[in-house]
């Protein structure tokens, strides 16, 4: 029955509705795959013991006439999203024993839809990373080649879906943490417009950048999850209703910032990128070159803004109210020991960097400059999207790196996010879609193409995505 675990959400929902299968069947198929392979993949930090009970309850609801495309669908949830009564550790030692006392808004909405939570997935600690190697609980491996990383920080969620351990997953994306692992694992990964999905109940990383979103096999699946979790929420004042942005007229035009692709993208990945554009051309799209002069600075802007927000958000972990709490000789020592031992090396690095760029004397040179450059980049992207519907780039410069390949050089790891950070800085929605595989050392590794749309134009991204992947509309 393990092939049931490889169904798309859309297919599974049809079979559930037709009474051909039950949610319990789906959970068992996922569990079978987990038992067979998760000891080596390590996608999950915890598989929930009551998953089958949740599935039974979903089947019961269906018998009583309830229906929703996610009713009874097993989903994997990233470990930085709170589910009441369950551990949410953000893959950190400092939250190892933290049990959530409330549901994140996205979880509340998924529960209302009747989705089944199969487990919480591994991630880079506090979502700091692009490979899931920064987890305090050991790395996750890429199901396509276990000597390679799944990407990150939502690497556990991506690996879980790719390996058939869940039909879909929730991740969070601060600089590409949904889209880059989707690219490395051959999935669809979607980051909504900033403010479209409530951030309440997510472990905050960069509050002006964070959004939760789906990792799925198909665009239609991503759309189902997105439509379920979106909406204004009183607990997140940056959230807004659907329809907040004016509807756009479709021009069937795609802009490619060629200047950004000239260096550093693997040649065979670039070939797939061009092929994908050709496919869309054949469907009536016009492909034009565009310029985004500040986009080359995006990663530099990101590595000022993000650590500044990280150091601020992680200041709350002080061992006073919850989480790890170590005692020293005095109050300062209590804090410093708890934080020094509770946070892993990358979290400490980002806290230090953020503290530096926010220090008086350096603020104008770094944070002030980055904020101004961010405004400029946002204006450039908005102007570009007046002329075209979408901006297309590869999702990442290469397929998944080997485990440990970038361990000694944080900067090299950061460069994996070079194409994804822009959408977080500018708040635009962006999607990563599989665009083929490239051979590396006898294995075929997935690579992804990214489309960015104007604020609020999620529908446009789903349309172009379905057209590219040949999904029936």
């Amino acid at each position: 029955m393990s092939n049931l675990a490889e169904l798309s959400i859309t297919e599974a929902a049809k079979k559930l509705q037709a009474g051909e299968i039950t949610s319990v069947d789906l959970i068992r198929a996922c569990r079978e795959a987990i038992v067979a392979r998760d000891a080596s993949i390590h996608a999950y930090l915890e598989v929930f013991a009551d998953a089958e009970e949740q599935a039974k309850a979903a089947d019961e609801k269906r018998k009583n006439g309830e229906s929703h495309p996610l009713l009874g669908i097993p989903l994997a949830i990233k470990d930085n999203i709170l589910i009441e009564g369950r551990t949410a550790s953000a893959a950190s030692k400092i939250l190892e024993n933290y049990v959530a006392s409330y549901d994140a808004t996205v979880i509340k909405k998924l529960k209302e839809a009747g989705a089944v939570f199969i487990g919480r997935t591994n991630m880079d600690e506090f979502a700091h990373g692009s490979s899931t190697e920064n987890s305090a609980y050991g790395p996750t491996k890429n199901p396509h080649d276990e000597s390679r990383v799944p990407g990150g920080s939502s690497g556990g969620s991506a690996a879980a879906v790719a390996a058939g351990f869940a039909l879909g997953a929730l991740g969070t994306d601060t600089g590409g943490s949904i889209r880059e692992p989707a690219s490395f694992c051959g999935l669809v990964g979607f980051k909504p417009t900033y403010g479209t999905v409530s951030r309440a109940g997510l472990v905050a990383m960069g509050s002006s950048l964070d959004q939760a979103g789906p990792l799925t096999h198909t665009v239609a699946d991503a759309e189902i999850i997105f439509n379920t979790i979106r909406g204004k929420d009183a607990l997140d004042s940056t959230s807004h209703e659907a329809g907040f942005y004016p509807k756009r007229e479709i021009k069937k035009k795609i802009g490619v910032p060629r200047g950004l692709l000239a260096n550093g993208v693997d040649a065979d990945a670039l070939e797939h990128f061009e092929e994908s554009l050709e496919k869309l051309k054949a469907q009536g799209y016009e492909i034009v070159d565009i310029e985004l002069p500040s986009a080359g600075l995006a990663l530099a802007i990101y590595y000022v803004i993000m650590p500044a927000e990280v150091s601020t958000n992680l200041a709350r972990f002080d061992g006073v109210r919850y989480g790890l709490s170590l005692r020293g000789d005095n109050l300062w020592e209590d804090y410093a020991k708890t934080r020094g031992e509770g946070f892993g090396p990358e979290a400490r690095r980002r806290i230090m960097l953020g503290t530096y760029v926010l220090s008086s004397g350096y603020y104008d040179a770094y944070y002030g400059k980055a904020t101004a450059a961010r405004a400029q980049l946002t204006a450039e992207v908005a102007r570009a999207l007046d002329a075209v519907d979408f901006i297309a780039t590869p999702s990442a410069p290469s397929p998944a790196p080997k485990l440990g390949e970038n361990a000694s050089d944080p900067l090299k790891m950061y460069l994996l996010d070079i194409f994804t950070v822009t959408a977080n800085l500018t708040g635009n929605p962006a999607i990563s879609l599989p665009m083929g595989v490239v051979p590396r050392e006898g294995k075929n590794l997935p690579v992804g193409i990214q489309f960015t749309a104007a604020h609020g134009d999620e529908a446009g991204l789903f349309t172009v995505g379905k057209q590219l992947l040949g999904e029936v509309q």
């Binding site: 900033y194 530099a300 005095n330 690095r349 230090m352 503290t355 530096y356 400029q376 946002t378 944080p410």
Partner: protein
């Protein structure tokens, strides 16, 4: 390269206890990252004038061009009246509040608990 003393000072500000070894590796890592982000200061295109840098960047990107698109970030105001965490009108801690009934689970997370209170260290201590 950033000095050892600077790293130690930052660690003090950030409330982090670092080992000698990590202090040395952070000197190197943070210097490399600062070199990389230094291209922001070097780039001519970016104007860091006060006006552009004090507002939220997502708020001002279409100044004078408001008809084109709603700003991504805008002020959110509400009446200064008691309301539930769920956003509904009412007194906080009413039975249908998002956090109603959560008191026990919040307290259960306290690292050290005594008669329902969170035990914390004395902040003002006698000089010894």
């Amino acid at each position: 390269m950033i000095s050892k003393e600077e790293i130690q000072n930052l660690a003090e500000l950030a409330r982090l206890k670092l080992t000698e070894e990590e202090t040395a590796s952070l000197q190197k890592d943070i210097s490399n990252i600062l070199d990389y982000v230094g291209q922001l200061s070097a780039s001519k295109g970016v104007s860091a004038d006060k006006e552009a840098s004090t507002d939220h960047p997502l708020m001002t990107y279409r100044e004078g061009d408001a008809s084109l698109s709603a700003p991504l970030v805008h002020n959110v105001m509400r009446e200064d009246l008691p309301r539930l965490a769920s956003g509904k009108a009412g007194t906080p801690h009413a039975s249908d509040d998002t956090l109603a009934g959560k008191e026990e689970s919040l307290k259960a997370a306290f690292p050290k608990r005594e008669s329902g209170y969170n035990v914390v260290r004395k902040i003002i201590q006698k000089d010894e």
